[in-house]
Symmetry: C2
Subunit: 433 residues, 2 copies
Amino acid sequence: MLATVVTQKADELVRLFYDTFLQDKEASSFLSHSVVHSRLSHSLRDWLLNLLRADTSEEKSRFEDRQRAIGEVHARIKIPIHLVLEGAALVKGAVARHLMQLDLSREVLGEALMQLGRRIDYSMQLMSQAYVSGSMRRAQLDESFRLFALGQDITLERESQRAALMEWSQAVLFALFGSGSATGLKPISSSPFGLWLYHRAGVMFQDAPALESIEGAMEQIDRVLLPKIDEARATQDPSLTGLVEDLQGLVEQIKFLLADLFQSAAGFENGRDPLTRTLNRRFLPSILSREISIASKNRTPFTVLMIDVDHFKQINDRWGHSAGDAILRQIAEIVLDTVRLSDFVFRYGGEEFLIALIETDAEQGFQIAERMRQALLGRELRLSDDTKISVTISIGLATYEGHPDYAYLVDAADRALYRSKEAGRNRTTVASG
Amino acid sequence: MLATVVTQKADELVRLFYDTFLQDKEASSFLSHSVVHSRLSHSLRDWLLNLLRADTSEEKSRFEDRQRAIGEVHARIKIPIHLVLEGAALVKGAVARHLMQLDLSREVLGEALMQLGRRIDYSMQLMSQAYVSGSMRRAQLDESFRLFALGQDITLERESQRAALMEWSQAVLFALFGSGSATGLKPISSSPFGLWLYHRAGVMFQDAPALESIEGAMEQIDRVLLPKIDEARATQDPSLTGLVEDLQGLVEQIKFLLADLFQSAAGFENGRDPLTRTLNRRFLPSILSREISIASKNRTPFTVLMIDVDHFKQINDRWGHSAGDAILRQIAEIVLDTVRLSDFVFRYGGEEFLIALIETDAEQGFQIAERMRQALLGRELRLSDDTKISVTISIGLATYEGHPDYAYLVDAADRALYRSKEAGRNRTTVASG
């Protein structure tokens, strides 16, 4: 009877699905094209008709494969997962309303509603699983390609693209002041520079703000300035000189932004903090999750230290930022000298370091922490003007105890550090389990 | 009334949830630890109690934030999404069974079941969306870290680790033949080499088969060989010599596998096919998805060519594989000379190339394809022994027409190529829309 309703109402459900989604801005961008519409309508109808038909085990395994295949396609075409789940909920609601209008007993109605939910939910489980693994594989590949694109000789790339930009603007100027031939001015967006910017720079520099500014300037040139210049030229309007100056201004601006773009990439791609040579904090999730998995799998201990320089603000205020930098650099050296090569040292915040001590339990970790703290007690750090000052550090220690979330471990170390500060600084506190 | 059932049965639902999941092998690995159990039981109970309580808009937005936060935690601790959806379905089923046992009218029962489904489904939509974006961000970071780790001076790393391995085996041998002191033999797994292998090599070389083999050999040493050697030494058993020879064999094997590991990384990390200098096929999904998004957003044309060398098998059979390689290299040169720098040329298969022509419509694409095909007609390719042979290519062309799945475009080009072959080779066929 549930199957009858779904079969009878299949066309209506497909229509409802598309009508609802075409009103959603995000969803409609995936569905608006006619190719998609006709193909997906067809797929959706098939999906509905097959939803309740998996009774034999052969049918069941075919049904499962099909749901996974759909999830993979969704990942490939980047349909957001919540839209798919929303669509499934929509279908459930509509079928349920139809069921409630039938003259069914309480029991039959209840069973039908539950069966409907189970089937659709099971399909969503399979689809989502395939979707997530497909999307993660894609994210990995995208990143790999981005870094590959960046890894090509970046200085050469910068100079080539600067040259391509100049070549385009020169061609425009020649066309303007030359024979004044009938050929229009070539837009920057379809010049080699424009193609590079849209198709390569987007990969290399992802969401860099300078990228958007360049695109804005290019649009300004192609949509506003070039048509005006073309017209002024045709009518021999005296405004031409001013317009060409505007063009020059925009080209200069693009040149400047381009330098900025390459500059920022050079800094960001470095996995280490340039000042202290410790690891960039953005690798923290990757490394800690991995180490927690290893600790959990191999039943090896794993300890995290959070280190903060005491009274760092006063140092900065009294001796200036370059003094602060010198202090941080020397503390990082001491830390790196104390740990083993296989441990991980991160610059965690302004004056904070996080250290991941692999295969190290709380007691060993405490000894390492104390060795760092005491190394500072016996030493004066040198500022750039040869002033020497003494500095202390506070340390919080937390050991992995089975919680799978690395954030939990970092929080525990952070709270222990806070207790070291509260208790008067220059000490190591071990987090209470 | 639905709220009453959920509230009254909350503890039972939490228990049911955990009991079911602890029987599932995959799920139990996330839930077995007592910290997790107590914390997650608590969270799950809260989630249930809050599920039906989002009536005011303030409550609603707090509810939504909470669902997203849960999704983020799940991504961080890598709970597979299908387990969460399965758990939600479990809760729905249990609450529905309770509802059906109550003395409710058909209408009230139906409405309650629908409301239950809507609330839980909405929670799943929000959670899954946050989960997917968190997981993709993580996959991206993991890859970025992996390539960073690989990008460090890899030759230096190889030599350091070879040295670390030798240092360990030397220490074992000294301990054996030296004073015969009471200290036991140090296991390889906790030596600097072992730590590097478990904590760094796993990142750098991911699923390389050599990695697993090394781990196997290390386990063999630590669990089997070292205890036996220790015993033989203590009892002055004559088997000692043979055991030490076994150890030497295993160390040699690890040394060999280690070289293999670094070797394979050098090849794989190269984004280009070493023979033809065209792009590695693994970047195809990243590049084509991106280009399809750009074409769709900017309404610019985008064309794909699939190229296959005619009768390539015969060339290989008659002149050998190095002749085939020479042919492929020269064809790749012609292809790369014909396209613009901003286009993408991939080695797609043995003798197949895929070319992504950006901002190019079918007509322009056809001209480019024909230019390649004709460039080969007027030229003899040179084999390494100076034999000259003529080669032709068949081409299939497909243009983006709005379908968001890049696989659809690749398939269309592939089918067009097949038609070129069928029609007698040495020609370009345009896919019919």
